[in-house]
């Protein structure tokens, strides 16, 4: 899938802007490294929405798009993103299996835990929540809106 590399020497700073009668606490500029955000979904429309929203928050972020769990695990090892948005319901290798591979990799190599945000069309069931706590930092229900995404980035990245 497409990878869009953005420029280095990014400056970010906390700011608030008003959009469509909503106040979004978001990050515009702040002295920091250029963040790399991985998004994983087997449906192209969902990748498009997420990448456009991330781009609207800060167009200097590097966005790595993956259309499968397998692709995500391979690219995760190569790119070590700062945060990962991971669809739960994917064929072949679902979000739980993908997150498990990533957590195992981090544990094996004694790496810091990367924030992983689960993307789901449903609320979690009780059974899912047991797995969820060990693998994911949070979840977002689809469709994803700018406010949810912005809040999530503020909470886990900045």
């Amino acid at each position: 899938m497409e990878e869009s590399k953005k420029s280095d020497n990014l400056t970010l700073k906390k700011d608030t802007f008003i959009s469509d009668n909503h106040s979004y606490s978001t990050i515009i500029e702040k002295e920091s490294k250029p963040y790399t955000i991985m998004i994983v979904d087997d449906i192209e429309i969902n990748l498009f929405i997420l990448s456009e929203l991330i781009d609207s928050i800060n167009n200097k972020f590097t966005i790595i798009k993956c259309s499968s769990g397998k692709e995500a695990t391979e690219k995760f090892i190569d790119t070590r993103p700062d945060i990962l948005f991971l669809d739960i319901y994917m064929p072949s290798m679902n979000g739980f299996e993908t997150a498990k591979v990533i957590r195992d990799f981090e544990n094996k190599h004694e790496l810091a835990s990367t924030p992983i945000i689960a993307l789901t069309a449903d609320s979690f069931s009780d059974n899912d929540e047991l797995n969820f706590e060990n693998l994911f930092n949070d979840f977002m229900k689809k469709p994803i809106y700018l406010k949810n995404l912005s809040d999530s980035l503020n909470r886990y990245l900045f």
């Binding site: 959009s19 469509d20 087997d42 449906i43 192209e44 429309i45 969902n46 498009f48 929405i49 456009e52 929203l53 609207s56 319901y89 064929p91 069309a121 449903d122 229900k141 689809k142 469709p143 994803i144 809106y145 700018l146």
Partner: protein, 115 residues
């Protein structure tokens, strides 16, 4: 059938974003319709559930409430296995027909927006 208010909300009223988002609906709908058609006998509940589940948030997004509610009903039936086969097949057919109409409507909306 559609209500684009959520699309505009999501796209922050950027018409180019909204248009590019809408352009991605017909291929997704076609994929789901094909999957439903291939499983129109209503027997492979796993495949049907997968197709319904993938389409569901996007039906919500495009404001296709009737099909969205039908998809919730069908998805629940797939999950629980509580299915009356004949009725399920009819509802599945109705869902597929609704998606086909939705694809046509979205295609027209795209043409209007491009004018």
């Amino acid at each position: 059938m559609t209500n684009l208010s959520k699309i505009y909300e999501l796209s922050e009223h950027k018409s180019n974003f909204a248009l590019n988002l809408l352009k991605r609906f017909p291929p997704l709908i076609e994929m789901v319709v094909t999957s439903i058609r291939l499983n129109s006998d209503g027997k492979d509940l796993k495949r049907i559930y997968e197709a319904l589940h993938k389409m569901k948030p996007n039906l919500d997004l495009v404001g296709a409430i009737d099909i969205y509610e039908l998809s919730l009903l069908l998805e629940n039936q797939c999950k629980t296995g509580l299915i009356q086969p004949q009725e399920f097949v009819i509802q599945l057919q109705k869902y597929r027909h609704g998606l086909e109409l939705l694809a046509l409507e979205i295609s027209e909306l795209i043409l209007d927006m491009e004018k």
